[in-house]
């Protein structure tokens, strides 16, 4: 009996007759032994909901069709023949990361903290933009920074030079921050209620797109020195971001960079994306960026106040803090 696709259930197995032929819906025909199911090209087949035709060339020669719906595996194994059994999992591959992300998100929500995950290629000016933003915020809002890089504590030191608390995560061989790393960093930095947490991800336009850190949203930074087609080349990141900051706009007079085309490309992969043109050097657009942040913070406070009585304590705490202030 084939323990992979479930065919041949209840049939008598004839010695020396382990292999049989399959014809798949797409026309591929192949044979396989009782314990494998590999086509000539090495592709493993398992029709989701298509019919699956089997032609058996033994004495009882017949053709039959049946529907698998993905359940055709060896639920049907004969007791005593094998100890193998099927365990239904149905878990998202990223579920472990998502569990940690959910814990982080709860941490942020309970404290009305706005967490922003800043993502971009290396060299887009994330850290310079952060430094500029922190200086312009001028301590009007409590904030902290988590810096992600493969190596060095340089970026955290640049942030700390502004007076803001920062913690560096070195991912070593890792190409992205994951929610567990961020969760471990949270108790190590001061994060009062209603503060802002900037998480500067590893410079990488690919992997960080898939890893939820528990943030309110991702902010993608694209610099005008990179090329208008970056959103098309690395669509996952721009799809995952709520806001795109087009940085280094002060350099536009010196470049052949079509800003409108870059924005059109970003909207092509993410019709909902918001876009702000900024320059960390001249300060262009920084006010608009900070206003956008304030808008996100307000949204969190409004959401928090509308919460169920379970969260009333946070609200009361908030009111007390406001009264004291």
């Amino acid at each position: 009996m084939c323990t992979t696709c479930g065919c041949g259930t209840g049939e008598v197995k004839i010695e020396g007759h382990d292999a049989h032929w399959h014809v798949h819906e797409d026309g591929t025909a192949h044979s396989h032994a009782s314990d494998e199911h590999v086509s000539v090209s090495g592709t493993h087949y398992r029709p989701v909901n298509g019919a699956h035709q089997h032609a058996h060339d033994h004495d009882n020669s017949h053709t039959h069709e049946h529907l698998h719906f993905g359940l055709g595996a060896a639920h049907s194994h004969a007791p005593g023949m094998t100890q193998a059994r099927i365990v239904q999992i149905e878990r998202d591959i990223l579920s472990k990361n998502n569990d940690y992300a959910a814990q982080n998100r709860m941490f942020f929500e309970d404290r009305s903290i706005l967490a922003l995950n800043l993502v971009s290629s290396p060299g887009s000016g994330k850290t310079s933009l952060l430094v500029r933003s922190i200086i312009d915020l001028n301590e009007s809002v409590p904030l902290a920074v988590i810096e992600g890089d493969q190596q060095t504590i340089n970026d955290a030191e640049r942030i700390r030079a502004t007076g803001a608390p920062a913690i560096q995560i070195n991912t070593g061989k890792g190409c992205h921050l994951d929610a567990h790393m961020v969760g471990q960093a949270l108790p190590k930095i001061p994060l009062p209620n209603q503060s802002i947490l900037f998480i500067e991800n590893v410079g990488n336009l690919v992997c960080p797109a898939a890893f939820d850190l528990g943030e309110a949203c991702k902010v993608a930074i694209l610099s005008v020195t990179e090329g208008e087609d970056k959103p098309l080349k690395y669509p996952d990141m721009f799809q995952a971001a709520r806001l795109m900051l087009l940085n280094k706009c002060d350099l536009l007079p010196h470049l052949n960079f079509d800003v409108d085309l870059a924005e059109e490309n970003a909207r092509r992969v993410n019709p909902m994306i918001e876009i702000i043109r900024v320059s960390a050097t001249t300060g262009e657009g920084i006010d608009e960026w900070l206003a956008w942040i304030e808008c996100q913070r307000k949204a969190i406070l409004v959401k928090q106040q509308g919460k169920s009585p379970i969260h009333q304590h946070s609200r009361t705490e908030l009111n007390v803090r406001q009264t004291v202030a």
Binding site: T3, T4, E36, H37, H44, R46, V48, G70, A73, A74, T82, Q83, A84, R85, I86, V87, Q88, I89, E90, R91, D92, I93, L94, S95, K96, N97, G174, C175, H176, D178, V206, C207, A209, A210, F211, L232, P235, D236, Q239, R268, V269, P271
Partner: protein, 113 residues
């Protein structure tokens, strides 16, 4: 992208299941991967073999079930089949298509001993 991390995620799920469901050997692993999920199947196979080595799923057969991709076209206001993310709507050619299905990445089931 990051298929190595994803393969490690698969191993974590397998190890969790091994503890809760009491098995010591995994013979095959069935993954459901959407057609427009950002996973390179060949890279996943390569990383799977590397990551499973020395684990309870060492040498396990990897089966990948491909799930079809569909998207919602904002212009046509209908669900359309899409074969790659960020593709144009096959009906009107607009890029205003939001993926609906086909981005899944799931461990569906394991054959264990």
């Amino acid at each position: 992208m990051h298929e190595m991390s994803l393969a490690e995620g698969v191993l974590q799920i397998i190890e969790d299941a091994a503890r809760s469901q009491d098995f010591a050997k995994v013979k095959s692993v069935v993954l459901e991967i959407g057609q427009i999920a950002a996973i390179e199947i060949e890279a996943m196979r390569f990383c799977f073999d590397a990551v499973m080595r020395g684990s309870i799923a060492d040498g396990a057969i990897l089966e990948i079930v491909s799930l079809p991709g569909t998207g919602w076209c904002m212009q046509c206001a209908i669900t359309v089949p899409i074969v790659e993310q960020y593709a144009a709507c096959p009906e009107c050619g607009s890029y205003q298509v939001q993926p609906v299905t086909g981005t899944e990445m799931r461990v569906k089931e394991l054959e264990v001993e």
